[in-house]
């Protein structure tokens, strides 16, 4: 099953809509609750990152019987130093993002911790692609 969503940068009211739909779908499919939590926490952090940092982006989620593969592709400023961005506590988030309860520099580490496979690729000035795979068992 494939799900896809469009995300608008700066649209904090809608941030989480895609993650919520993926959560609902996995619940309907009877996926274990602890696995669903890992999937949606990782996806929600990644979705908030796109809203917080990029101009726009897309999310695709491929759900197969044994795993889910999620890909987030955004158009935005990109990340110049990924290693630094992965450091817990490091953040370039705006005041607006912090007022929404994010921007504490825990997003990427949180995604990495929940994913079985996590890939991030970024071109400064163009955008960032994040790939997350989580096995169901």
């Amino acid at each position: 099953m494939n799900l896809s969503f469009q995300i608008q940068g700066g649209d904090f009211t809608s941030a989480g809509t895609a993650s919520s739909q993926v959560r609902r779908t996995l619940k309907e499919l009877g996926v274990d609750a602890s696995v669903i939590k890992r999937v949606v926490v990782a996806l929600y952090e990644a979705e908030v990152n796109v809203v917080a940092h990029a101009y726009r982006g897309t999310i695709s989620a491929e759900i197969s019987p044994d795993k889910v593969f999620m890909k987030l592709v955004d158009e935005g400023p990109g990340i110049t130093d990924i290693e630094k961005a992965m450091t817990p506590g490091f953040s370039t988030a705006s005041q607006e993002v912090r007022e929404m309860g994010f921007g504490a520099g825990m997003g990427l580490p949180n995604i990495c911790r929940n994913a079985d496979v996590f890939n991030i690729h970024s071109v400064p000035g163009k955008g960032t692609t994040v790939e997350i795979t989580i096995q169901f068992k």
């Binding site: 941030a15 989480g16 939590k37 926490v41 929404m100 309860g101 994010f102 997003g107």
Partner: protein, 114 residues
Amino acid sequence: MTIHEIVSLVHGKILCGNVGNEDSVEYCFASDLMSDVLTVCRSDFMLITGLSNVQSIRTAEMSDLKYILLVRGKTPSPEMVELAEESGIVLIISPYSMFKASGILYQAGLKGVY
């Protein structure tokens, strides 16, 4: 501790969600940082937060939480209440500060998640 006991201790009010007399919670986590909430692996805790926007409800939804205690006398927006209802989340408000609400509930026996 039952939810009704919690509501009474923090002089709170249940804004939405159905709470039975036996419904209870044993653990709490207090934070305004949603990424910190998302680091907690367990799901059987009540979130105490002063963050009054839809992302606190979304975070509870993603974390599979059932109860949010919104402190510091914040009035949630209609969107927040609607989203909480949709997600089956019980939203409780309290006029107390996060420190005071947490202290009272800790003293009464609620436990921290770590």
